[in-house]
């Protein structure tokens, strides 16, 4: 004979599974997950939601199995993330990262913002800000020495599939007019593409929108980066990224303001570890103020 009695522990677990599954679904369907992780995680979040929902469903069968010794603390494993997701918090913005101008945060640090004072190593941190021009990006060797391998791998990644050497499935490319109008949603993809195949795009006119990123300790007086916050994996690696621009009147630009930059792409030099590498840069011809873009960008 099998006794039946309501089992609060199973009920609690069931609630946690359901809440977590529902939250994952909500995050994916509303697109809010993009504030935490990249679009590549979408199938994995679906997977988590499905597993949790299945667990909850199967747990129903044990809901009336008596149990003398009850436990609840293990449920915090799910309750803590659920609570933090639900409780109010705002996505990180440029201000969080660059309140004291990037401080130690170009990529992983994220420290600046409210805690600018914590960055004791201003010079070291600033050196790293070189990264935005180069982050995901700048390895010259690969682009110049092994273009064949490059194209092959790009192909295998599907999103860069190109038969004539151009990433013709990235929107905004005008081969005839030698112009790339970077759509806001493809900012990261275009940065990657341009850096990987900079020789292909040399001399093109590039139009892109970002916030003005200036840093006197690492950028020259006539240099700035129209940057976007780029997330490579998750919000922990959020960092400004973009192409370095040469512009005479940088001093007139207000840091953090959003601008649309138009200019000609050329291959400049970028110093790293005592050596000079090719670096795609833009010689600016026109700058217009632009609307701020809330969303992050993703390199692939």
């Amino acid at each position: 004979m099998q006794a039946r009695a309501f089992n609060p522990q199973i009920f609690l677990e069931l609630l946690c599974f359901l809440a977590f599954a529902a939250l994952m679904l909500f995050l994916v369907l509303s697109g809010k997950y993009l504030s935490y992780v990249t679009p590549r995680m979408e199938p994995y979040l679906w997977f988590s939601a499905i597993v949790m929902a299945l667990w909850a469903f199967i747990g129903l069968g044990r809901l009336f199995r008596p149990q003398h010794k009850l436990r609840s603390s293990h449920c915090f494993v799910l309750a803590v993330p659920i609570l933090l997701l639900v409780l109010p918090h705002s996505p990180l913005s440029t201000a969080d990262l660059s309140g004291s101008l990037i401080g130690g945060s170009a990529i992983s640090g994220l420290s600046s913002g409210a805690s600018g004072s914590l960055n004791s190593s201003v010079s070291a941190a600033a050196a790293k800000t070189e990264a935005p021009a180069a982050v995901i990006v700048e390895n010259a060797d690969a682009a110049t020495e092994a273009p064949a391998a490059e194209v092959k791998l790009s192909n295998s990644n599907a999103s860069y599939g190109s038969t004539d050497g151009y990433a013709n499935d990235l929107p905004g490319l005008d081969v005839q007019g030698k112009k790339i109008t970077v759509p806001d949603d493809y900012f990261g993809a275009w940065i990657s593409e341009i850096c990987m195949n900079m020789n292909l795009y040399e001399g093109y006119t590039v139009v892109m929108t970002g916030f003005v990123f200036k840093d006197p300790t690492m950028l020259k007086e006539d240099e700035f980066v129209p940057a976007r916050l780029m997330m490579s994996c998750c919000v922990a690696d959020l960092s400004p990224a973009g192409l370095l621009c040469k512009y005479d009147k940088v001093s007139e630009l207000e840091a953090e303001s959003w601008v649309t930059v138009e200019g000609t792409l050329f291959i400049g030099k970028y110093e790293f570890d005592g050596q000079f590498y090719d670096d795609p840069q833009i010689s600016v011809t026109k700058i217009t103020p632009a609307q701020a873009i809330e969303a992050y960008s993703y390199p692939f």
Partner: protein
């Protein structure tokens, strides 16, 4: 009002009757009227000294064949006499669920309710009993409120028994047989309901969130950023943890130990080769490889081989190779270097365990862990043969493993997110003017502290490449996936501290030596 029921469980000859004789015959209890029900007749008999206890006993045969009659006769006893308490001595080899079924029977349910379950254990033979007496004993231990241990004469013995018991019933209070005063307090102490405890804690946490947030931000601690980073890392890790526990539970439940023992290469060299190929084939990060590692060790895979697998899998699988390739924009030196170093270091770490085997078992539950998973499923995976039975066990096992490893994932992620938000500046400033060896060590320590998922750490490593030499970056890329705060925390859900310390030391030395030597010979 329903009468309180107190139950003493324990294996045959563990001393249940002696315990009841001592306890129920206390002078100051002589006016408490008790009904004592025995489901076992051992060497010692229950004697009531003050004639306040009435006793009845039932045989195991009755229990199995005529449970309805037992219920009926208990009901009659209860209606005939006036009792204050019911004490039950439960049979040592009968499942606890059987007792619950009796007590929850509609005829008894309203008359009496289960208050406390006390487990009596004989410290001398508990370990060997647990290894070979099936599911009833661990089930009894898991369902007890506290345990009383007999035959432990040294503090070390007591500790060992306590570890065994809490392996099955985490956090269980254990008392020595003659520590009577503590015991009485336990029996009648008011017990907090764990569910209301859970809800209260949640409410408190919400309040704390709103109070602590402005306070912390007042101290210039970027609370919002920490929350975001925490959730980012966690959302990325949870799906992989799920994959890990599902695969690991699959191995645990569906693959019989015999199959692994007979098929797996006997020699160390072939075993390690298999471990590396296996590591390449499993596209998982370190969150997933740790539960798999644990179940491999449980299934009897030689420790050096399992360690090699655990160390190699998060470094050399295709997902990680691809993400490294992207992060370093196709720099093949880094990609190939990471894979090659990953293989060298994981084999070296595995060899360390082959050359210097430790005497203590690596699993914290000792030999026991091989037989039971401590997940509330005491049925032996090998003895259940039906597919639906195994499927049910698979689900419960994966849930239990998710909770037990997930706990450490949450804690580790929390520490790592604090480090990421406020800690990196210190590492960066330490670098200025450091020599190569020191730079490598800084980056390795940073990898340990940041606890990044191996499928995403390459991008972070890339961001340090402006200040750190390539060799230091390689140290970061190789050591981080093998060992970090998060991994050490997750390992402690099943492994002994000395094993984790040894693994940490071995992998640290192996990573450092490999990176340093190769860079010294001009590898990078």
């Amino acid at each position: 009002m329903a009468l309180p029921i107190y139950v003493a469980t324990g294996f045959l000859d563990s001393g249940k009757t002696t315990f009841l004789n001592n306890l129920l015959n206390r002078g100051d209890w002589h006016d408490v009227k008790m009904l004592v029900l025995q489901f076992e007749s051992g060497d010692e008999e229950f004697h009531s000294r003050h004639e306040n206890c009435q006793s009845a006993s039932f045989s195991k045969k009755d229990l199995e064949q005529r449970p309805e009659q037992i219920v009926e006769s208990i009901r009659r006893e209860l209606e005939a006499g006036e009792f204050d308490e019911i004490w039950i001595e439960w049979n040592g080899v009968a499942p606890f669920s059987q007792l619950q079924a009796l007590l929850l029977h509609p005829k008894l349910h309203s008359l009496a309710t289960l208050k406390r379950v006390i487990h009596i254990a004989d410290g001398k033979n508990l370990e060997s009993l647990l290894g070979r007496t099936g599911g009833a004993l661990p089930e009894q231990i898991a369902n007890s409120d506290f345990a009383v241990v007999r035959n432990v004469h040294y503090p070390d013995d007591f500790k060992r028994v306590k570890r065994l018991l809490s392996g099955i019933n985490p956090g269980i209070a254990v008392y020595e047989f003659n520590a009577s005063n503590d015991l009485y307090k336990q029996i009648f102490a008011k017990r907090a309901n764990p569910v209301s405890f859970f809800i209260l804690t949640l409410i408190l946490a919400v309040e704390l969130y709103f109070v602590a947030r402005p306070a912390l931000e007042g101290f210039k601690i970027p609370f919002n950023t920490i929350v975001n980073v925490f959730l980012g890392i966690l959302l990325q890790a949870v799906p992989f943890l799920l994959i890990g526990v599902l695969l690991s539970s699959f191995i645990q439940i569906f693959i019989p130990q015999r199959a692994i023992e007979s098929r797996f290469p006997k020699s160390l060299g072939l075993g390690m080769l298999a471990a590396i190929i296996g590591g390449f084939c499993l596209p998982v990060c370190d969150c997933a490889s740790i539960p798999i590692f644990r179940s491999l060790v449980r299934k009897g895979i030689p420790l050096p081989v399992a360690v090699t697998f655990m160390a190699a899998a998060p470094i050399i699988n295709p997902v990680v190779i691809l993400s490294t390739y992207y992060a370093f924009t196709g720099n093949m030196t880094v990609v190939v270097g990471r894979v090659a170093l990953g293989i060298i270091v994981s084999v070296a770490t595995g060899l360390a365990f082959a050359l210097w085997p430790s005497k203590k078992p690596p699993l914290s539950g000792g030999a026991l862990d091989r037989l039971m998973c401590g997940c509330g499923c005491y049925e032996d995976a090998e003895s259940i043969t039906s597919f639906s039975g195994k499927a049910g066990l698979f689900i419960r096992h994966s849930q239990a493993e998710f909770f037990s490893v997930g706990k450490y994932l949450v804690i580790g992620t929390f520490i790592a997110s604090i480090f990421q938000v406020i800690g990196t500046g210190a590492f960066r400033s330490a670098q200025s003017g450091a020599g190569l060896a020191f730079s490598i060590i800084i980056m390795m320590v940073m990898a340990f502290a940041l606890s990044l998922c191996s499928s995403s750490d390459a991008v972070i490593a890339r961001s340090f490449s402006n200040q750190f030499p390539l060799a230091a970056i390689m140290g970061f890329l190789v050591f981080g996936p093998i060992m970090d705060i998060k991994n050490a925390m997750m390992l402690s859900s099943g492994f002994s501290k000395s094993f984790i310390a040894k693994l940490l030391l071995a992998s640290f030395i192996a990573s450092f030596a490999a990176v340093f030597l190769i860079s010294a010979f001009g590898g990078f």
